[in-house]
């Protein structure tokens, strides 16, 4: 039968194509966590590679044994052993249950360790002090509040290279998901609730940030630029905003919360204390302050 000849080749080809795809994606990527610009993304990438390598223990034997089996036991090969009632073998059985159990054991152990290590809520170990940023997702824009500096930027995020950033996030509208692919993973933002994410840029640069959770017509345009700069540049930027930009008052906020795609980033030179907590409380029906896990006030 003709098909017998074709199959092993196509199986090999598929494997080759797959490998090629992954390798060229890896080499050609200018974005994404496989081209990391910070410790979190780098750790995620390393963990991914580790899993792929371990999984090869199960996958490679199949990719070798399947074409061989199809070829050797083809109906045309009358010399091949034919045992129509062969249905069980204890050694093989132990192997096909045992090996996956061991591999899942290894991967599970690593998963447990890495899940705690890379918990988005866990502050990053670094010599520099934490930079606090509060993020509010709106339709279809991101609002970043810098509580220590008392300034606000919309659709542009300024962080300091080498300084860990702690994001506290909420939503002023539907659920969204905050992500800067080259710096690390994502976390959901939900109205009336606060989530956290810790990231750091280890090199200066401009990175794309976005919402990954579909939220309507402006979804594809809900993106922002994250810029990692030196501490001096950051301070100068913050000072210039405080001097030259208007405050984020009720009118400005009402304008922002209307669904729209902004043509350019916006900046505000001052913001009320506990503004972020107010956004959260706006959905929970009370003016009382919300405490989060570590006991600190929002």
């Amino acid at each position: 039968m003709q098909g017998n000849l074709k199959l092993p080749i196509i199986v090999k080809r598929c494997a080759a194509v797959l490998l090629l795809v992954l390798m060229s994606a890896y080499a050609g990527a200018s974005d994404g966590f496989i081209n990391p610009a910070g410790p979190v993304a780098a750790a995620l990438r390393d963990h991914l590679i580790f899993i792929v390598l371990v999984m090869m223990i199960v996958i490679v034997p199949l990719f070798i044994a399947l074409p061989w089996t199809l070829w050797h036991y083809r109906i045309g090969n009358k010399k091949a052993d034919y045992q129509p009632n062969w249905e069980f073998s204890w050694p093989l059985e132990l192997l096909i249950w045992g090996l996956p159990v061991i591999i899942v054991g290894v991967l599970g152990w690593k998963l447990w360790e890495q899940t705690f290590e890379l918990d988005p809520y866990k502050p990053l170990a670094a010599t520099e002090p934490l930079l606090e940023v509060q993020a509010v997702s709106l339709d279809w824009k991101w609002v970043f509040i810098y509580p220590e500096q008392g300034i606000v930027s919309v659709n542009e995020l300024m962080i300091v290279t080498g300084r860990p950033v702690r994001f506290r996030l909420t939503s002023g509208t539907v659920m969204q998901s905050f992500m800067i692919p080259r710096l690390g993973g994502q976390i959901y933002t939900m109205a009336g609730m606060v989530t956290q994410l810790n990231l750091m840029a280890s090199e200066p640069g401009e990175f794309r940030g976005l919402n990954t959770q579909y939220n309507g017509m402006g979804f594809a345009n809900q993106k922002f630029l994250a810029r990692a700069v030196s501490q001096d540049e950051f301070d100068a930027w913050a000072a210039s905003l405080r001097q030259s930009k208007p405050p984020l008052d009720q009118t400005a906020w009402a304008q922002l919360t209307k669904p729209s795609v902004l043509p350019a980033p916006q900046f505000f030179g001052s913001v009320a204390d506990h503004f972020f907590a107010g956004v959260v409380a706006g959905f929970t029906g009370g003016g009382h302050h919300h405490l989060i896990k570590d006991g600190s006030e929002l």
Binding site: A25, T69, I75, W86, V101, W112, F116, G216, A220
Partner: protein, 694 residues
């Protein structure tokens, strides 16, 4: 009708909601495409009606099919629904792939709203109106024959399940012409789908079509589990059942437990939208996290509801076309049961990114990887089934082999996604899209196509063309890799799902390759249609009246092709696993029974189609807030059920003499039929009588 009037006869429905009117008023490309789709549906319906009238098919359609409660006909009708909906959902997929392949720094051809509707209908249709009916149809047709039963336990309920599913599908189709569909994706996450953020009829179409079909599937689960527990032939112990029956049993149990959370979640969402409740709203104490939990409490078992029956098909196909018993039968049964149980313990991995603690994520991540163990065992069991066999690469077998290769790669990416840290990076990305297509296309669709190729001669009495089948196979396989491997790469490069326009030029080449792959997948689908047409035209040379074209191993191959209404003239006595192989080896096949008895079969009933049509009207009325019609149709549904309970004569008797005459005539034909060696399986020599080697 004035929009202000709250007591309008047509509810919220107005002329501008008809897609043609809408396109006339807004003559842009996207609207034109939407109106064309609506046009296709209307024209298609008109053509079907015209053909039925021309060939005087209405009587036959009504009496032989629509009112039938025979599990075989119900099964075939399920699969017809699946194929019709598959055509729409594939075209939608190609349209989205094309749009994305040109939408790099360019708005493309579809408006954001239209694109949102497309990915929502594509996902909802593929899961609920392609995969579910295909799986339900396959189980319907095969399982009772494999356990030696004459029908399912509750034949009328079975037909009602079909009609509820068809009603849901009809609502989705109606949304092409009247109004808009949801843009909330197949998961319909609130608060985006709440009335505040998604006013209009779109989400309501989703809610009612899904609610109807989810109730249908719950009933199917109850029906099939009961059938397997109560209707097995004498001697057919659980551990003698073919693996397809085991997987059907597991799927039925999953349906019973997993569909309820979905029905509840959609009804709660409906209460939010219609009655001002606050289950999932942003304010007043609502919390969308409850929806995510309910939805995925259904959603994850759902994956296995779909995949397990396909696993059953692969077990049958690989064993049959290797000419050998299945390797590790008990191992496969335990693996299937393990998967069924574990499938309820992993739902949280769909939202690792929702902000719960690391310990919760880690537990669910490990539970997810645990499913990889029984699944890996199955893959190697299938490989070992081929070892020491005599392998024939039929179309069904080719699909099964490509499944093994491809599914393992999907398993790899599944294990990757099970790791919460990595999931944080690829959640919501095209990597995820590639992963679930990598599970569902080989794992469900290839399984169903393999089953269709395998059992078609049983259902219709003639073999499908292997040449066209194999051509289709290559399109499906190569098309799959071309379409979805680039999406893995794009996901790693930070491309997110459901994106109507891209702003990164490096995506372009990948998206173009993916579109080319989608065209191949469409070709694969069209070649299946060609295969069917060619085979129907050549049916006289392809007939297999003796009923056993593949040297089959289980009981369904022991009767004629197509089988009689009552399946078995005499209920068989089962002596071993692979019951029919055992009969053939022990020269017990095709023997005349000592005596025949009268057979009672259920009478046709118009209850199911009446409920189905009333359900369509009910859903439509609710979508458009036409309250009087909703009350009328709801009363119609339950009125029909109550009226049915007064019908006392629900069965008819086929006299023993008639059964004897038919069966003896068939047996005589089989005994005269030439025996076919396996090498000549795909020739006109094969009339369905297999050569017995042992």
């Amino acid at each position: 009708m004035s929009a202000e009037s709250s007591f309008s006869l047509l509810g919220n429905l107005g002329a501008q909601d008809i897609s043609f009117v809408h396109a006339y008023e807004n003559p842009v490309m996207s609207e034109f495409i939407a109106a064309s789709a609506g046009g296709f549906m209307v024209v298609g319906a008109v053509i079907v009606i015209a053909l039925l009238s021309y060939y005087r098919g209405w009587r036959s359609l009504w009496f032989d099919w629509l009112t039938s409660v025979d599990h075989k006909k119900v099964g075939i009708m399920y699969i017809v629904v699946a194929f019709v909906m598959l055509a729409r959902a594939i075209i939608e997929a190609v349209l989205m792939r094309y749009h994305q392949s040109i939408a790099v720094n360019d708005p493309g051809i579809l408006s954001p709203d239209h694109f949102g509707q497309l990915f929502s209908t594509h996902g909802s249709i593929m899961i609920f109106f392609v995969a579910m009916p295909f799986v339900s149809g396959m189980m319907n047709y095969i399982m009772p024959q494999q356990i030696g039963a004459r029908d399912v336990s509750f034949p009328l309920l079975n037909a009602i399940s079909l009609w509820l599913t068809a009603a849901g599908a009809a609502l989705v189709m109606i949304s092409l012409v009247v109004g808009q569909f949801s843009t909330g994706g197949w998961t319909a996450y609130p608060p985006y789908t709440s009335i505040e953020f998604s006013p209009g009829e779109g989400v309501d179409y989703w809610i009612w079509s899904i609610s109807l079909t989810s109730i249908g599937s719950t009933l199917t689960g109850l029906n099939f589990a009961t059938t397997i527990y109560k209707n097995r032939a004498p001697g057919m112990t659980l551990f003698r059942m073919p693996l397809f029956c085991w997987t059907t049993l597991c799927t039925s149990i999953l349906m019973i437990f997993a569909m309820a959370p979905l029905t509840i979640a959609t009804l709660m969402l409906a209460l939010d939208r219609y009655a001002g409740f606050h289950f999932f709203t942003n304010d007043s104490g609502g919390n969308m996290m409850n929806y995510a939990n309910l939805f995925w409490l259904f959603g994850h078992p759902e994956v296995y509801i779909l995949i397990l029956p396909a696993f059953g098909v692969f077990s049958e196909v690989i064993s049959t076309f290797s000419g050998k018993v299945i390797y590790g039968y008990k191992s496969l049964v335990f693996a299937t049961m393990s998967i069924a149980v574990l499938s309820f313990t992993v739902w949280l991995h769909h939202f690792f990114t929702m902000g719960q603690g690391a310990n919760v994520n880690a537990v669910f991540g490990i539970a997810t990887m645990l499913i990889g163990v029984p699944t890996g065992v199955k893959v190697y069991d299938w490989l070992l089934t081929m070892v020491r066999g005599r392998i024939r690469l039929s179309t069904a077998m080719l699909f099964s082999i490509m499944f093994l290769v491809t599914f393992v790669l999907g398993g790899l990416t599944g294990v990757i996604l099970a790791n919460p840290p990595v999931d944080f990076a690829v959640h919501n990305s095209l990597f995820l899209v590639a992963h679930f297509h990598n599970m569902v296309i080989p794992g469900v669709l290839f399984g169903m196509i393999a089953g269709y190729q395998f059992w078609f001669p049983k259902a219709f009495g003639f073999r499908l063309s292997e040449r066209w089948g194999k051509a289709s196979f290559w399109c499906w396989s190569i098309g799959f890799y071309l379409t979805f491997m680039p999406l893995y790469a794009l996901g790693l490069m930070g491309a997110m799902r459901r994106t109507v326009e891209w702003f990164r030029p490096e995506y372009l080449g990948w998206l173009q390759v993916s579109f080319a792959g989608a065209m191949l997948l469409l070709s694969g689908f069209l070649l299946l249609a060609v295969q069917l047409i060619v085979s129907v035209r050549q049916r006289e040379q392809r007939r297999v009246p003796a009923g056993d074209p593949w040297d089959g191993r289980s009981l369904e191959w022991s009767n004629s092709a197509p089988p009689p209404e009552y399946n078995f003239a005499v209920i068989p006595q089962v002596e071993a696993r692979d019951a029919f192989s055992w009969m053939k080896e022990h020269k017990k096949a095709y023997l005349s029974p000592d005596n025949y008895e009268d057979i009672t079969v259920p009478k046709n009933s118009m209850v199911a189609p009446v409920i189905g049509v009333a359900a369509i009207v009910f859903g439509f009325a609710l979508v458009w807030h036409i309250w009087w019609l909703a009350i009328v149709s709801f009363t119609g549904i339950w009125g029909t059920v109550i009226a049915r309970s007064f019908v006392t004569e629900t069965e008819r008797v086929i006299p023993a003499s008639e059964v004897r005459a038919d069966h003896e005539a068939w047996l005589a034909r089989v005994r005269e039929a030439p025996v076919t060696p396996r090498e000549r399986e795909d020739t006109s020599d094969n009339v369905g009588r297999a050569e017995v080697l042992a």
